[in-house]
């Protein structure tokens, strides 16, 4: 045992003999007998505790510095692992693949196919109210893109399906004075907004389905916004109102510091691969 030699050396030549060590477990002596009279006073010795604290701090700082490549590697690995993981345990790991549930409201009412309504108001010629059945009856568009959250997680190749927002805007007759679109949600708290130009993109949907299933409540069902090229906080859950306005009004997280123009990889100080 190298440690024994080390110990003996430290205690000096007077203590070359160590009666307790090595054979001790088998000889059945009581613990009191084995107290080494040569042991140092407890309060002496090397300040290893302080070194451990400083070492942990240094490792933490190193982790922050090395985070971008480490995170990319781990995401790739865990993303692949979660596809083959029937237990769902990888979902609980940081960036372990899959979606995270975020709600800013205390509780979110549930809307069914019969109680759900989507209103289109503001600077339009023909304000409208849609039921879920009316939205389903309109031409559906299916997009398969990665979902990227501003907090880091990414879910690859996620199908979304719904009505192009541009079709709903056209049907309402947008007035020339309108410059932006504001979205409100039936959780009573969340809001989002896009410029009119962004809202007219072909990869912005009023989504009714996700992963080829009807949107459930946790994912923002029955209807949510889906803004494919932007960070996922733009894709407001529980969408209930579309309002045309003359300027962009920052949404819930945007009033708390997030970018309004939230292009994936080109905003919020992040450098993720674009999703569209």
């Amino acid at each position: 045992m190298t440690t024994e030699h080390g110990d003996a050396a430290e205690r000096g030549p007077a203590h070359g003999r160590d009666p307790a060590e090595g054979h001790a477990p088998a000889d059945g002596r009581s613990p009191a007998d084995s107290r080494d009279p040569a042991a140092q006073p407890e309060a002496d010795g090397t300040p290893v505790g302080r070194r451990l604290v400083l070492g942990t701090l240094a490792l933490g700082a190193l982790g922050v510095a090395a985070a971008p490549p480490l995170q990319r590697g781990l995401e790739r690995f865990l993303g692949a692992a979660s596809d083959k993981d029937p237990t769902g345990l990888t979902q609980l790991l940081p960036n372990g693949g899959g979606f995270r549930y975020y709600s800013v409201a205390a509780s979110v009412p549930r809307k069914s196919a019969t109680s759900y309504r989507l209103t289109v108001t503001g600077l339009v010629d023909r304000p409208a109210t849609y039921t879920l059945a009316q939205l389903r009856a309109r031409p559906q568009t299916r997009l398969v893109r990665d979902v990227q959250c501003v907090t880091g997680w990414r879910v690859p190749d996620t199908p979304f399906e719904g009505v192009r927002l541009s079709r709903i805007l056209d049907a309402a007759g947008v007035r020339p004075t309108a410059r932006a679109v504001r979205f409100t949600c039936f959780d009573g708290t969340y809001s989002e907004s896009l410029t009119l130009e962004q809202a007219r993109r072909s990869d912005v949907l009023v989504a009714l389905r996700m992963q080829d299933k009807d949107l459930n409540h946790a994912h923002g069902g029955p209807v949510r916004l889906y803004v494919a090229p932007m960070y996922f906080y733009k894709s407001a859950k529980w969408l209930s109102g579309i309002e045309l306005t003359d300027k962009v009004e920052p949404g819930y997280w945007e009033r708390r510091g997030y970018d309004v123009d939230a292009w994936v990889g080109r905003s919020n100080g992040r450098s993720d691969d674009p999703t569209a």
Partner: protein, 194 residues
Amino acid sequence: MRRFSRGERWVHRGTAWLMIVCVVSAACLYVPQLAELVGRRALVVDVHKWSGLLLPLPFLLGLASRAFRADLRLLNRYGAHDRRWLSAVRRRDPRAKTRWAGKFNAGQKVFAAWVGGAVLVMLGTGLVMWRTDLFPLLWRTSSTFVHDWLALALGLVLLGHIGLALRDPEARRGMRTGSVDPGWAEREHPLWRR
């Protein structure tokens, strides 16, 4: 016999409660099922931030206590017996293990130092995530990464800490009342100079 002073017990109690609030609020932000149940994200974030920020406070107040400072010194200093204790753990030799423990065994010392360092890292990365106005946003992403993974490690280590305490009623009594049975001290901490 005496093991912990009243001040030391309050430091432990205060830290424990703040840690519980911090961990539970973290779980409500992080575990999807809990997040769904609780909602109120902005409020839970506030609870988590403040419990985390206050976490070092009991320790700092404790520095006024002579007994606490003396125990910190014991936790800091590692003698030859601590190396033996650790190598007994590596050899999976429980009987040799108990023989080389002072007032705190080497495992308790390592736990204390690592948790101390980890809490400081959590505090630092947490502050970067909180005060985005003071730090560049890229730091925030990197800090989130370290904060998330270290939280997982810290959670497991705390579970170990609680699990070991649950297995040893006399150790718990020491922390609750300040006194322990002399026989227990002789068995578990034979090198403790009283």
